[in-house]
Amino acid sequence: MTTFFQLFVAGLALGCIYALVALGFTIIYRASQVINFSQGAFLLVGAYLVSWFSLDRSYPFAVAALLALAITALIGVIFQVLVLRFTVGQPVFTVVMITIGLNIALEGSVPALFGSTQRSIGDPWGSSSVSLGSVVVNWDSVWTIGVTLLILAGFFAFNRFSRYGLAMRATAMDEEAAMAVGLPTRRVHALAWGLAGAVATVGGFFLAGFPNSLTPTSDAIALRAFPAIILGGLDSPLGAVVGGVTIGLVEELTAGYQPNNAAWLGTNFYAVAPYIVMILVLLVKPYGLFGRRPAERV
């Protein structure tokens, strides 16, 4: 049972990171009906900025984190205002391809700016851990789960109760109607990109915490978060969270049990397990667990 709880906590922490990445995807999808393929690069740049501010410039960790958040949010806003604003009305996949282009460029700039050596994120809790009975939990996992819960609560409160949250929901439902009643849809789009950038950074620095470290390929995690968004349904923030945690648990539990119990599935099977779960779910519910099936008219 100890092994199970150990894996469960690890899965929960990993799932929280997926949930944060997935939330970023969902926010942008709701605002502009595209999957933002540069989410992984935001995560990478954010994490590197935290590391650079806290280790190279020796700012306090909280300051470093906030600065990095602000910068990635700004990159998101700038990209939306300078580039994506001009793509309104273009085919979805042209826009998706543009975000892929941004991803390639940002990914390339990381080794150019920060070097390609492995680095630490500079978090104050490092590799310390706490024991709960026989289960050992890293402080990093505790912080990941705690902060993720806070951010999710904050996002849901913002989405539900604030004026901009309302504007975002209205824009997601029907952009033209939102424009017609005078909502600042441009600002809503920019806000969505800013939020997505910031959320990605949080995911990034928890991802790079103990026992992992930061490398220019750390953003591969964003690809593994795809099953999470699809599982939950692209347009559902709640789905992003449920999907993220599910995928995290599936991955960790498979990594823990599959090598001894089902070795014939091959090495590193845990990396594809989330995709298999995703495909199985989609065959039953084609718009994910929480996604809306759009009404179709001819």
Binding site: T94, G108, I230
Partner: protein
């Protein structure tokens, strides 16, 4: 100017002439790059049938290329089958994979399908990594060089036409790159003719109806199952052929060669060239698959880059930055791709001619 001499026909003839004589005008580097581009263009043409024509966005193209390449490796490498047969078999095996995966597209739309096909790439890589008799496992496996002959198999000492040995035909020498180039060009041209005919016939109209509005198409009697699966089959066949030739030209591949990045490059090539058009895949492949080798070759002469042991931006990251920025800028300026640019130029020419016509008449 006679009426049959339209700008489109002139452009086609010019393009064909350039493609035919290209190998005799350039050095080995450019010929090698061109051979790769034409091989990639076959795959991009396949994706164009599925995504550009039928509107089913797939990021799983790399898996089908891999399936084709390993078919080639097993048939050509292990059983010494003659190249024509393993190239065909590569297409057929990939097409069968496409027929198996195609039906998922019936339930999934748009970006959901795109993400599921990402899953196919990862699951495919997992299979390629673990099934060692097929792919050689993580260390990789050699993929044979084409050998053509009259027999069904080619023994170890080689057939009449072996791509590893330069050939003399009427005073012209063809080396390995040159032979790959012409073989791929032949297949590409056949593929382009096929797609051209497809566009104008009943099946092609059905595919385009599915792209424009699926529900409307099915209400008008288009059998969605049949045409979506057909699109997957055609697309995967071309991907398989492309994969077999690609693996063969690279000559040795590891399982992670068939990655999501490769898929993304195909989607990029298709969109940058012009989705749903005949020349688009080739034009897009020139941009997307030509940029990287060219930039690597000329990196030495660019400022700010790392030279030898000195500081500066590493070449690979500079390539990525330029590559990414190029895609962004290009698609913002011309969302319809190179074909869009060409059409714009065509319209400008036509306007000039119309403007000039009354003057000539007077």
């Amino acid at each position: 100017m006679p009426a049959w001499l339209t700008p489109r026909r002139i452009a086609t003839v010019l393009a064909a002439a350039v493609l035919l004589v290209f190998p005799f005008l350039v050095d080995a580097f450019w010929l090698n790059t061109a051979a790769f581009i034409v091989i990639y263009a076959i795959g991009a043409l396949g994706l164009n049938v599925l995504t550009g024509l039928t509107g089913q966005v797939s990021l799983g193209h790399a898996f089908f290329l891999g399936a084709g390449a390993y078919t080639a490796a097993v048939l050509g490498g292990t059983y010494h089958v003659m190249a024509l047969w393993w190239i065909l078999a590569a297409g057929i095996v990939a097409a069968i994979c496409g027929a198996i995966i195609g039906p998922t597209a019936l339930r999934l739309r748009g970006l959901y399908l795109a993400v599921v096909t990402i899953g196919i790439v990862f699951i495919g890589q997992h299979i390629f990594t673990n099934v060692t008799w097929l792919s050689g496992g993580p260390p990789g496996r050699a993929i044979p060089t084409p050998q053509f002959g009259l027999a069904f198999t080619c023994p170890a000492e080689g057939c009449a036409l072996n791509f590893d040995q330069p050939q003399n035909v009427g005073g012209l020498t063809f080396d390995k790159n040159g032979m790959f180039y012409y073989l791929a060009l032949l297949i590409l041209v056949l593929g382009m003719l096929y797609v051209r005919n497809l566009l104008r016939t009943r099946p092609g109209r059905a595919l385009q109806a599915v792209r424009e509005r699926e529900l409307a198409a099915s209400l008008m009697g288009v059998d969605l199952f049949r045409w979506k699966v057909s699109a997957f089959v055609i697309s995967s066949f071309l991907a398989g052929v492309s994969g077999a030739l690609l693996g063969s030209l690279v000559s040795y591949v590891q399982p992670d060669f068939w990655s999501l990045i490769l898929s993304i490059q195909f989607v990029a090539a298709m969109i940058v060239g012009g989705a749903g058009t005949i020349w688009g895949p080739l034009l897009g492949s020139i941009v997307i698959f030509g940029l990287e080798p060219v930039m690597q070759k000329y990196a030495q002469s660019l400022p700010l880059l790392a030279h030898g042991s000195g500081g500066g931006i590493p070449v690979s990251s500079a390539t990525h930055i330029l590559y990414g920025v190029a895609i962004v800028v290009f698609l913002v300026v011309e969302p319809l791709g190179v074909i869009g640019l060409a059409r714009r130029a065509g319209r400008v020419l036509q306007r000039r001619r119309i403007a000039a016509a009354p003057a000539a008449a007077a």
